[in-house]
Amino acid sequence: MSVSVQTGDFDAGRECADLLAGRDDVGAVASFIGVVRGDGDVAAMTLEHYPGMTEKALEAIVAEARSRWPALVRVRVIHRVGRLAVGDQIVFVGVAGGHRGEAFAACEFIMDYLKTRAPFWKQEETAEGVRWVEARGSDDEAAARW
């Protein structure tokens, strides 16, 4: 199972170890962890998603990465949903490849695509109430460079 959408936390160390388990052709593992940042007075956030489409969209992004970097050995994507506090982990992307080039590139590609193509929406909690996070144009630009 390469893609998970879950409320629970994840152990990035264990996920990276799982990417290597039983393989002797892996020379590089690149990973990314997204964390809830305490911007201004943000205390927590709630992530909404589109059950069903979310998993399909993430699987499509992984498939696209595999077609662009055929030397990828394993890919793991975990995205949390529900209420998360500042400092909580939100997303994990781990990529195992023969060499660092495809591992670094595919990991960044998957995050850039996830930011603009996977149906998640963040709502921030502050002392004044809740507000939906606006999409940023810089995310579109990051995805467009691939």
Binding site: V91, A118, F120, W121, W132
Partner: protein, 82 residues
Amino acid sequence: MKLHIRYFASLRESIGRAGEDIELPCEQISVAALREHLAAHGADALGDTDKLRAAVNQVMAGPQTAIGDGDEVAFFPPVTGG
């Protein structure tokens, strides 16, 4: 044709419901035309196309994507995951 419409995030809150089942007197319609129809029939927030995205059968769709009988069509704001 019958369609299952879904709304998410801030759009769901603006429209005041998570979705609706509708019936249209045609066999095919584009995402753009469906949006106009829904905007004119109670889903006012769909009138602002600037920050609107759509999916047909859980795949991202464009304004000209064709919709047919039994399809699930979702409208939502630009995504903000990660």
